[in-house]
Symmetry: C2
Subunit: 320 residues, 2 copies
């Protein structure tokens, strides 16, 4: 297949691109390289079936021209900054809602029918049903990120209803693994490198989160890509969760440090932080998918990769 | 209270404005007068506590300046064209999502905390639970209109989570009554005036819809306006529904005509038309609200008003 990957230079995107090229697909990456990193595509770039377009999804004309001739679009590009959404409150709508409509219009105008979309467990807000199934009660949004991803999902469904577009909307837990560049694991690793004696952690350490390794995420995307589901929604996550305090312990041990942990207190890390995320991923299991990494193994693999990739860590320290 | 009404020159808006002025509130209408009509505010315009600003919600600077100093915002302005959404697929996102974020930002920047929003039963898509309660299963959107209103609701909830904004999100069935300017009743009345012998009706006539009279809608808005609910969602509708064929019968009888009805066929009027809308409005009843009009009485009152207001009907005929 000829596959168009938005955000293909990013964390999940570049892992997907490598896997697609390995499976003999042709791949076009469309990425504006702000959070995406060209070095994540250094292996892909050697490949004759690979093509890179450095451009913005908000440039609808450029995007529409670029999408022409592809069999499928995997739309991963997004503003994925849940925590700092309120520093620039219009960014989520622009980059997650308008950009997604640009992708949908580009597909509609070019008769490209297959779409895989990366949504998030954040669309459930603080769901009372845990583990949370895809048909959980009508959610109340608690973050601009969740609201904007839910909005993008709604647009996708409306297009799937009225056009030939056939969509899979994956709702991910947090993803870990090689090329991970932002989130609490990099934050902790970067700060423990600077000061291995003390680590300040937001909340009281009891927030419960679920994580998935990027290779398990990519395997699910590739499994559904050749299908024609009309409009399906699929949770992706492991069968369980950890407390932040556990995850901090795994990270410190893997780094060989033993910091004192200062908890900032409160039952959540920031406004809009969901203190308990655990998705029911039984739907995807009916398609034969099974995650290979436990949460602990995913955290440890991420720490190992970060320690071997100082440039990513340095960027995290500067950002902090 | 000093109340800011977006879309205040429209159908629901102008009815609300008259009621608010009667209750001694100060009212600012912000309306760009494209679907809104200045003549709907001819009585209000005589009032010393009334102020009109003719401007666009997409002009964020103008809006932000205008919102300053108000106690509450009732945000009614929207692109409410469900049926023709696909003729201009970006309009719903612009006018319902971006415009709503502009309202929210204007409120946040001016410390205006109270918001009442007009959402729609269309946000439920085709819900399997009927009558549909507010906590129906996570919906699958079927129209750009429903998707954009659901997106606006999500943004409102995210703002309510992180800012002092306290919101009531009303989900309306279709509203009828004086100053009604678009929808199937005006469509049928206008066409029966041109040709009283035959009426073509989309679908097979068995689509089941629920309607509410605008005075009952306005009463609900005014009842919740002084409250501080944090973030609440309330369905508004009567306790029942009618078939389109029944509604056609009431309209014809009220007009004194006896047309042959040609049904176009199919179980719905157009792509994204929900063939069965009936909302569970028991939540609003717990606040002592009770609709005064039956569906039939609301349809008949609308026909009477249309026949007495030829200019609105003429516009509908030209649009057709």
């Amino acid at each position: 297949m000829k596959i168009f990957v938005t955000g293909g230079a990013g964390f999940i995107g570049s892992n997907l691109v490598d896997a697609l090229l390995n499976e003999s697909h042709e791949v076009t990456v469309y990425d504006r390289l702000t959070t995406g990193r060209v070095e994540f595509l250094s292996a892909a770039a050697e490949h004759p079936r690979f093509r890179m377009i450095e451009a913005d999804l908000l440039d609808a004309d450029r995007l529409t021209a670029a999408v022409a001739g592809h069999d499928a679009v995997v739309h991963l590009a997004a503003n994925a900054d849940v925590r700092f959404g309120w520093s620039h409150p219009r960014r989520d709508v622009r980059q997650n809602v308008e950009a997604t409509q640009n992708v949908l219009e580009a597909m509609r105008l070019n008769d490209v029918a297959r779409l895989v979309f990366s949504s998030t467990g954040s669309v459930y807000g603080e769901c009372p049903t845990i583990p949370t199934p895809e048909d959980a009660p009508f959610p109340r949004q608690t973050s601009l990120y969740g609201a904007s991803k839910a909005a993008a999902e709604g647009l996708i469904s409306a297009y799937a209803e009225a056009t030939p577009i056939s969509a899979t909307r994956f709702r991910f837990v947090s993803i870990l693994g090689p090329r991970y560049t932002h989130g609490h694991v990099i934050d902790f690793v970067a700060r423990l490198l600077v000061d291995p004696t003390t680590l300040r952690v937001l909340g009281d350490g009891t927030q419960r989160k679920s994580y998935l390794h990027v290779s398990d995420c990519v395997a699910a995307i590739i499994a559904r890509l050749p299908e024609d589901p009309g409009d399906e929604v699929i949770n992706l996550g492991v069968d369980g969760y950890c407390e932040i305090s556990e995850s901090v312990g795994w990270i410190a041990k893997r780094m060989g440090v033993d910091p004192r942990i200062d908890y900032a207190g409160g039952d959540r890390g920031w406004v809009g932080d969901n203190p308990f995320i655990y998705l029911d991923a039984s739907h995807m299991r009916t398609h034969g998918w099974q995650p290979k990494y436990t949460i602990q193994a995913a955290v440890e693999d991420t720490v190992d990769w970060l320690l071997a990739n100082e440039s990513v860590l340095e960027a995290a320290i500067i950002d902090d």
